[in-house]
Symmetry: C2
Subunit: 300 residues, 2 copies
């Protein structure tokens, strides 16, 4: 299935690859992998998306169900919401008794890793998560450069072989991303703070603004780019986010609870008109924002 | 001081205008008004900013204190933090017994309006607030098109005469903004929801991410544009925001408390793994985000 060569394309060139889910992530992956694999098959239950993918020429063939084609596939990449990935992994042994390589782009990694570990030994599996979400979703939003220069997290588990790891690294290299190996539990804790909490906060903020605008529609006129940017994540695919919240409940609860305590501290300082306490909080947040931009994006 | 002509420039062309504060707002206003007023004087306590403003040619003259020049000024525009605007208004009668026109760009309007109403009758005053903040501050961030196409709120008070209202409207027209008259209390309530709550939420989010990153610096690698956008407002000038929070305490407390309750509702649904309740909240926030974008920015 692979040879001992070091070029990424050599790892992929001989593989028949199936991407399950041709939404923003799967569609973008298909575009970014185009021509680099032996064959590229799209699995998508929405007929119109299958037709679009074929018309756009981003897959060689498109099927409604993985079972229709799995016998001919070397690598399955699951690019669907997290709970569907878990049930998809569990369905694999029944439709592909001889095993294959399995990779996924799911947004939480703990439950997926455990499902991969329950696969029979003829399967080789590794988890992945490209850190490049955007609030638009679906195939029309897909773009070949979605992963370019972005961090692509890889999570090993008991079913991870050197072969599947090399293929995953080749795929990450092919799409122009930067691999970062991480324990699934660490991933889930970190994305709860960096992504799931911001999403929840944005959704709550959208609700609050809407309530006020319902009472006084001039709110939209008064609003500026600040409201637009802080609520951007509320536009994320709600079904995808729901599955993220349910499969990462513990770390997200911990973040929301700590956030709620910070909010109480701020509320208390404002109630007391405690100028020095408020100043310290706002200045610290401002300095940390600058330090974060520096750490993440470098000097200006 | 004015004639019954309808062109904006005619209202401004004969006036000696002093802008107090050459930061982002005052500096941008000077740039946008350049050439449209009889004279344009900058009042700025930072010597380097005075020198920069003169070098950039955006003011005719620059002074450290308003008292140095007020006798020759027809219109004073206060473009400094809210509490400084209030104390600046209170200082006017002592340095300009004969009165003048007063306008301001302060971010909250209640306390400023009350200070204007305490001015002697020879002063004519009206409040203003251009809805175009950005997280960068200071003269280097100033730009002549800051106000272009933006909403510029105007708040009348007991000291507002037809003359000063006409001059304010001329100024708004000159900088390319859209005037919107509003009661000061309505303004303060609406910006608490559309601007001050998002700012507070962004600052709390920055703190939370920083705490997690202190424990595990990989957080920055894992973070994506979502964290960057949701925390953008935390980069706002903290002293300006502190004065906003202290002068708009009531409406901001109301928003923070309602937000805290919404957070508790979300937390509770997540603790119970209540799929339907969570789905309803996330879908509603998603739909409202789309409807808000439509209402504010029109079709795509």
């Amino acid at each position: 299935m692979k040879s001992n060569v070091s070029e990424p394309w050599a790892e992929l060139a001989s593989l028949n690859v199936a991407i399950v889910g041709l939404g923003l992530m799967g569609g973008s992956l298909a575009m970014a992998l185009r021509g680099a694999t032996g064959s590229l098959i799209g699995i998508e239950r929405v007929a119109a998306s299958r037709a679009d993918a074929l018309k756009m020429g981003i897959v060689d063939e498109a099927f409604a169900r993985l079972a229709d084609v799995l016998a001919a596939v070397d690598l399955v990449v699951l690019a669907i919401p997290v709970e569907s990935i878990v049930s998809g992994i569990r369905a694999l042994p029944a439709i592909r008794a001889s095993g294959c390589m399995v990779f996924d782009l799911g947004s939480t990694k703990g439950q997926i890793g455990r499902a991969m570990e329950e696969l029979p030994a003829q399967f080789a599996a590794i988890g992945g998560h490209p850190m490049c979400g955007r609030e638009s979703s679906g195939l029309p939003a897909a773009t070949a450069d979605l992963f370019l220069e972005q961090t692509f997290i890889l999570c090993r588990n008991a079913r991870t072989t050197p072969d599947v790891e090399a293929v995953a690294l080749a795929l990450v290299a092919q799409v122009g991303a930067r691999p970062l190996f991480m324990e699934a539990a660490d991933h889930d804790r970190l994305v709860a703070a960096s992504s799931h909490l911001p999403y929840t906060v944005a959704s709550l903020l959208m609700e609050r603004a809407w309530e006020e605008a319902s009472a006084d529609p001039r709110l939209w006129q008064v609003s500026s780019s600040g409201l637009r940017d802080t609520t951007r994540l509320a536009g994320s695919n709600p079904e995808m986010m729901l599955e993220i919240m349910l499969t990462n409940q513990g770390p997200i609860l911990a973040q929301l609870e700590a956030y709620g305590q910070d909010l109480e501290t701020m509320l208390d300082a404002l109630r007391r008109q405690d100028r020095e306490a408020l100043r310290a909080m706002l200045e610290q947040a401002n300095q940390r924002r600058q330090a974060y931009l520096q750490a993440k994006y470098g000097p200006d």
